[in-house]
């Protein structure tokens, strides 16, 4: 009987995920006999806060250069993992707040909502902390399965059913590609964990380049589906639009953060190992084409949309393109830049969707630009928050989105992808147009009689979410160093070092 090496099982590194899981179960049990949704939401937030404390602890450990890991480098709690965990928790917390304020009004109040949200977040945390492909796959499936269900949460509405089914079918297909990619990678490298794969691929005498390359491309496709890289983005507009807006809030930020966290880690280890070998130039080429297409299609698509929800969906695709710049530059530099960008993205996107829930009616409809006309006069604070989020999304200083864009473009240039960097700059000019349209409507147009704002008391928890998002966006824009230094100076495990 083979015994495990000492210190193989380190349950403590799982603390953030376990904490979330525990509270998911708790909210599930509470849902049986507790009808007070506010209480359940508070419990969920407590769980998220507890997990955040643990993640913060690991981030601080990483600052001191003593990043932790467990299960033989299969589960990591280094700077990258903990920082992304924190971003995921932030996104989940915002989604819980938005859900608490809107579920009842939309007639979506079922006891399994918050448990599924927390379970999904658990999967997301596992994804960004994974140190081997199997763990990554399971995290991905846990996260996705919950989100498929949440997307179909309005089971009596066609669009929501369509969103759920479409997401599920295409997502399963993407998972199949991903698993096939894992199989090929395993076939080529003989291992599942990043550390061994990285070493095997970079070693001299490694022969199965084509198999490994195919595996890597399929892994990109699988994760690219989740982050909505073109051409795997087609589900995004329909699903984002069809899903109930509180769910879209969660989907847009948490799923993207988790998938990028995983993709960056894979890029920094396995892909880096592959690129060091023969045929290494192909992989960055594939990525560059995908990302270029994502930038163009995402931004042009957003330009053509009439509904703000659908516009934000395309904008999510476009932002996947900007984050892709960090993936091609996934040394330590790219990872830190993406970590900053995603924190900013989470705040501003969740903020924009939260405002959207306040503008849309009780049937979760009415998101055209007309509905935003005159918002600046009627609800000045709401309009101001929306303006902050949108301008930040457009990348206008001094908001967080601007710093994020600068960082990823810098990282791409350092990595030698100048063409891609130029494309990013050009497309972000296009992006200003469609974001500005909404801002202009809010402040410079009169409220039209056909699209009136629904009359109802404001929800306090949604207001809190919007406040956090807007202030956070501003704060990260003015004092980027607060967050970025933690990312940049924290220790990352499994960093590829090319052998001399």
């Amino acid at each position: 009987m083979t015994l495990l090496p000492e210190g193989f099982i380190v349950w403590s590194v799982l603390a953030p995920a376990l904490f979330l899981l525990g509270f998911a179960l708790l909210t599930l049990l509470l849902g049986v006999f507790q009808r007070d949704r506010g209480f359940v939401a508070a419990v969920a937030l407590t769980g998220i806060a507890g997990a955040a404390v643990f993640a913060l602890h690991f981030l601080m450990e990483a600052q001191r250069g003593s990043a932790e890991s467990g299960f033989g480098l299969r589960y990591l709690a280094d700077a990258h993992a903990s920082a992304f965990t924190l971003v995921i928790l932030l996104g989940t917390a915002l989604a819980v707040l938005v859900g608490q304020g809107t579920l009842e009004r939309l007639d979506l109040d079922h006891p399994e909502y918050f448990p599924l949200l927390l379970l999904s977040a658990t999967g997301a945390v596992v994804m960004v902390s994974a140190g081997d492909l199997i763990t990554l796959l399971l995290g991905l499936e846990i996260m996705s399965l919950a989100v498929y269900v949440l997307a179909a949460w309005r089971s009596d509405v066609r669009q929501s059913q369509e969103a759920g089914l479409k997401y599920f079918l295409l997502g399963s297909f993407a998972s199949a590609l991903f698993i096939y990619g894992i199989a090929l990678t395993y076939g080529a490298g003989g291992h599942f964990d990043y550390a061994s794969l990285m070493a095997v691929f970079a070693a001299t005498g490694f022969e199965a380049h084509i198999t490994a390359l195919l595996g890597a491309v399929l892994i990109i496709a699988g994760l690219g589906f989740k982050v909505a890289f073109v051409p795997f983005h087609q589900w995004a507009p329909d699903v984002y639009t069809g899903a109930p807006t509180p769910v879209t809030t969660f989907m847009a930020v948490v799923v993207k953060t988790a998938a990028f966290g995983a993709l960056l880690r894979v890029a920094a280890t396995i892909f880096a190992g592959l690129e060091a070998g023969a045929l290494g130039a192909i992989l960055p080429g594939v990525l560059v084409v995908l990302i270029g297409a994502t930038l163009v299609v995402g931004n042009l698509g957003a330009l053509l949309q009439a509904g703000v929800k659908r516009m934000l969906a395309y904008s999510a695709v476009a932002h996947a393109g900007y984050l892709g710049l960090a993936v091609v530059a996934a040394g330590a530099d790219g990872m830190a830049a993406a970590g900053f960008y995603l924190a900013a993205y989470t705040l501003m996107t969740a903020g924009a969707f939260a405002v959207l829930t306040q503008v849309m009616d009780d049937d979760d409809r009415g998101d055209t630009i007309e509905h935003f006309a005159g918002l600046g006069r009627r609800r000045p604070w709401l309009a101001a928050a929306m303006a902050v989020c949108l301008l930040s999304l457009a990348g206008i200083p001094p908001f967080a989105g601007f710093i994020g864009k600068v960082l990823v473009i810098q990282a791409a240039i350092t990595a030698g992808h100048v063409v891609l960097a130029v494309l990013a700059v050009v497309t972000s000019v296009v992006a200003v147009v469609y974001y500005a349209r909404v801002v202009v409507a809010m402040y410079f147009r009169e409220q039209s009689s056909a699209a009136r704002l629904p009359e109802r008391p404001a929800s306090r928890s949604v207001d809190v979410a919007i406040g956090i998002a807007a202030v956070g966006t501003l704060l990260l824009g003015l004092l980027p160093g607060l967050w970025y230094t933690l990312l940049e100076q924290g220790q990352n495990l499994l960093v590829f070092v090319s052998s001399p």
Binding site: L4, F8, R35, R74, H110, L116, T122, L138, V149
Partner: protein
């Protein structure tokens, strides 16, 4: 070798049946046949545990559920295809992939490891070997599968068993009890019970 060829032919024919047969039940049965043949193939490779799990999980559980759903929904044969050419494109791609796989396997310099070596490695209870890998090396993954199943369960219940509490504030617990008791006269939402009615 003769056994292998027979089994291989049967399993490939079964797999083709899954794609080509029009009647959904026949296609599903064909898949069961393929799965059972694969199980026998595993037995000839001395992988007993894998073979039994294959039968128990795939043929015994998953395919029964498949058939169950097909029968319950009473799926009619699809009469009109939406894009007939798509079928042929798919056949073409499948053919190219199969030929590519065979050529690739034949050209690969690393041939399959000696069967005797593999057999020696599997001697003496391969359930134990699998347990060692599963519960030690992949312990984390094993636990995560549990979380995945839980998520699936919660999700399925959330989508299927949706009961609004009646006005007057009946607690969720009572509502649930009512669903489980399934008193006569109430429409059943439980898929299994609905089937047996």
């Amino acid at each position: 070798m003769v056994t292998f060829v027979i089994l291989a032919v049967v399993s490939v024919v079964g797999a083709l049946g899954v794609v080509l047969l029009r009647q959904p039940i026949h296609a599903a049965l064909s898949l069961v046949g393929t799965l059972l043949t694969l199980a026998v193939l595993f037995v000839t490779l001395q992988a007993h545990f894998l073979a039994v799990i294959q039968v128990l999980v795939y043929a015994g559980a998953i395919m029964v559920l498949f058939l169950f759903v097909i029968m319950l929904l009473n799926i009619e044969q699809q009469r009109k295809e939406i894009r007939p050419w798509l079928r042929w494109v798919a056949y073409g791609i499948g053919l190219v992939a199969a030929v590519g796989l065979i050529v690739g396997a034949l050209l690969d310099p690393r041939q399959a490891p000696d069967a005797a070596v593999a057999r020696a490695a599997l001697q003496g209870g391969n359930a134990l070997l699998i347990a060692e890998v599963l519960y030690f090396e992949f312990m984390l993954a094993f636990q995560l599968v549990g979380v995945l199943l839980l998520t699936g369960m919660v999700g399925a219940v959330a989508l299927v068993q949706r009961r609004r509490p009646p006005p007057g504030g009946v607690s969720a617990a009572t509502a649930r009890e009512a669903v489980l008791t399934d008193r006569p006269g109430r429409p059943s939402s439980h898929p299994v019970e609905a089937g047996g009615r």
